[in-house]
C-alpha cells in the first residue's frame, strides 16, 4: 500500500448552489477557499471554527457527500469524484452528526447498530459479532433491546456512534456530536472518542466550536472564512488566546485564568491546557 495521507484535501473550493437567483445578482460566496489539508492514518485531529467557517462543509467533502467545485479530495488515494470508489470511500470514512435523532431509524438499539451492516448484505452471524463488539466499545452493551426513544441524549449519541463503529471505518468524523448533550455526557463522549482512537488506531476528526474539547487531541486545525488559519498541537494553538478570541472561539475561563496568572508573574507553563494540568501547575 501507499504511505500517503489517509485524507488528502488538495486546493478545494466549494460554494453552495444558489438556485433561485441569477448568478450576477447574487454570486455564490465560497464556503471553502483553496483549502489544503492532509491527515495521516491514526491521527486525532480537532477541527475548530466559528459558525459558518466551513468546517461542516469540509467534513462532507471528506466522504463524498459533497464534491468540490475545484481541487480534489483523495481518501486513501481514491478521488471522491470517482463514483465507482464512493462505496469504498464511505466504508473508510464514517460520520456522526450533531443530532442523533436524525441518524437513528430502527425500533430497538441493536437493530439500529446493525443497520449499516445489514444494508451492505453482511451475513447474520458476522453482523451479530460486530454489533456486540461495537456496543461494548461505546459502553451500551446492556441496552441492546431498548427503543432509542427511551434513552438519554448521551446514550442515543452512543448508539449513533456504535452504528458507525460497527462498520469498522478507518476514520470517523464527528460533526458537533456533543453540542446537544449536557456537560457530563459531553465529557464522556469526548473521552470515549479519545479511547477509541487509542485502542483501535482509528483516525479521528472531531469538529467542534468548543475549545475545551480540543485539549485531548494530537493536532488542532482552526478554520475561518473557509480557510485553515492555524494548525498545530493543542499547546501551540492555545498559546495565542487573543487570536482565538478574534476567531470567535470561546476561551474557557480556566485558560484565561492561567494566562492572567502567568502575566502576573506566576510561573505556569504555557503548555498546560487541561484543567488537571493547570491545577497541577498551581499546586504541585
Amino acid at each position: 500500500m501507499r504511505a500517503g495521507p489517509l485524507l488528502d484535501i488538495q486546493h478545494v473550493t466549494y460554494s453552495y448552489p444558489v438556485p433561485e437567483r441569477p448568478q450576477a445578482e447574487n454570486p455564490a460566496i465560497p464556503v471553502l477557499r483553496d483549502l489544503s489539508l492532509q491527515i495521516q492514518e491514526g491521527e486525532y485531529v480537532v477541527l475548530l471554527g466559528h459558525n459558518g467557517s466551513g468546517k461542516s462543509t469540509l467534513a462532507r467533502l471528506c466522504n463524498g457527500l459533497l464534491l468540490p467545485d475545484s481541487g480534489r479530495v483523495l481518501v486513501d488515494g481514491h478521488d471522491t469524484s470517482d463514483a465507482k470508489q464512493l462505496r469504498r470511500i464511505r466504508e473508510s470514512v464514517g460520520m456522526v452528526f450533531q443530532n442523533p435523532d436524525n441518524q437513528l431509524i430502527a425500533t430497538v438499539v441493536e437493530d439500529d447498530v446493525a443497520w449499516g451492516l445489514a444494508v451492505r448484505g453482511w451475513p447474520r452471524s458476522a453482523i451479530k459479532e460486530r454489533v456486540d463488539a461495537a456496543m461494548a466499545a461505546v459502553g451500551i452493551a446492556g441496552l441492546s433491546h431498548l427503543p432509542p426513544s427511551r434513552l438519554s441524549g448521551g446514550q442515543r449519541q452512543r448508539v449513533a456512534l456504535a452504528g458507525i463503529v460497527a462498520l469498522r471505518p478507518r476514520c470517523i468524523i464527528t460533526d458537533e456530536a456533543t453540542s446537544m448533550l449536557d456537560p457530563l455526557s459531553r465529557q464522556e463522549i469526548t473521552g470515549l472518542l479519545h479511547q477509541l482512537h487509542q485502542e483501535q488506531n482509528l483516525t479521528l476528526i472531531q469538529i467542534t466550536h468548543l475549545l475545551e474539547e480540543a485539549a485531548l487531541a494530537q493536532r488542532v486545525v482552526v478554520m475561518s472564512e473557509g480557510q485553515v488559519v492555524l494548525d498545530g498541537p493543542p499547546a501551540m494553538i492555545f498559546r495565542n488566546l487573543p487570536l482565538l478570541h478574534a476567531l470567535k472561539l470561546e476561551i474557557p475561563e480556566p485558560l484565561l485564568l492561567a494566562e492572567r496568572l502567568r502575566q502576573s508573574g506566576l510561573p505556569i507553563s504555557p503548555d498546560v491546557v487541561t484543567l488537571s494540568a493547570i491545577a497541577e501547575e498551581l499546586v504541585p
Binding site: 466559528h50 459558525n51 459558518g52 450533531q98 438519554s152 441524549g153 448521551g154 458537533e176 453540542s179 446537544m180 448533550l181 449536557d182 456537560p183 457530563l184 455526557s185 465529557q187 466550536h209 475545551e212 478570541h245 470567535k248 472561539l249 470561546e250 474557557p252 475561563e253 480556566p254 484565561l256 485564568l257 492572567r260 496568572l261 502576573s264 506566576l266 510561573p267 505556569i268 507553563s269 504555557p270 503548555d271 484543567l275 488537571s276 493547570i278 491545577a279 497541577e280 501547575e281 498551581l282 499546586v283 504541585p284
Partner: protein, 298 residues
Amino acid sequence: MSDPIIEVHQLSHIYQTGATYKAALMDIDLEVARGSCVALIGVTGSGKTTLIQHFNGLLRPTTGTVLVDGIDVGANNADLRALRQRVGMLFQFPETQLFERTVYADVAFGPQRMKLGRHEVRARVIAALEMVGLPHREFAWRSPLDLSGGQKRRVALAGVLAMSPSILILDEPTVGLDAEARAEFYAYLHHVRQTQGTTIILVTHDMTEVALLAEQLFVLADGRLVLQGTPRHVFTQVDQLHEWGLAAPPLHQLLLLLRKRGLALPPALFTFEEVFTALVSIPCGLEKNVNPASSHRE
C-alpha cells in the same frame, strides 16, 4: 416572595403509558419573581421539559397547583388561550421552525393569529425586530434562509416577542451558536428584559450561560427539586452537582481540583476576578513552583 408571577405548590406529574406509570415530577414547590431571570438545570430526563410544559398549559398537574400570572393551569375552566399569549416559548433549534418566505411574514405569524389589526401587527413586528437587532428596513423582506445561524435564531425570538409575552421560556437558546453569536443573543435578551420587564426562564445545560444570566437556579434530578438558590450558592456544590449528573462551570471545577490538591481557598469564590485575586494573593501554595527549571520553559 412579594410578587411571584409563577407559583407552583406540591406539583406532581405522572405519565401513564399503557399499564405503567412513571412519576416525571414529584412534590415540586417553587416561585418565580416577576421580572426576574431564572434557570432550570438538570440532566435529560430530570423533568425540566415536563415542568415548563405546565407553565403554558401543554400539561396539567396530576396533583398540586400551578398558578401562572394569576391563571390556575389545572382548573377545568382555565383560559389556555390567554395563558399561551402570556407565556412565550422558544424551543430548541427554533430556526428549524422558520417557514415563511420573508422575515416579516414569519415574525407576523403569531400576532396575526391573535386577531390583531393590521397596523398593530405591523407595529409589533417592527418593534420585535428592532429588539433583537435586526432593523426591519434591512431585514424584513429578506428570506430567513439567507441569514446566518445567529440571525435566524433571533428571527425566531422576535416571532415570540411580537406576541408580547409576560413570561419568556427559552429551551437551550444558544446551543450550536459560536461565541460571538452567543454573546449577541445574551445582549438582546438582556435588552428585552430591561425594556419590557419580561420574566425569563432558561432551560439549559450551559453552566457558564447560567452563571452569567440567571439570578435564581432550580436544580432538578429525577423529577424532584433538589436544590435552589443563587448561582454563587449552587456552583460551590461541585461534588453534589456531579452526583446529579451536572457539571459546574469549568472555573469552579478548577477550584475543586485546587482544593482537592490541598490549596486553602476562601469558600465563596464565584466570579473570575474573585478567583484571580484569591490565587495571586496566596503565594505559599504556589511558591514551590518557582524554580529555575520551570521558569525557563518558555
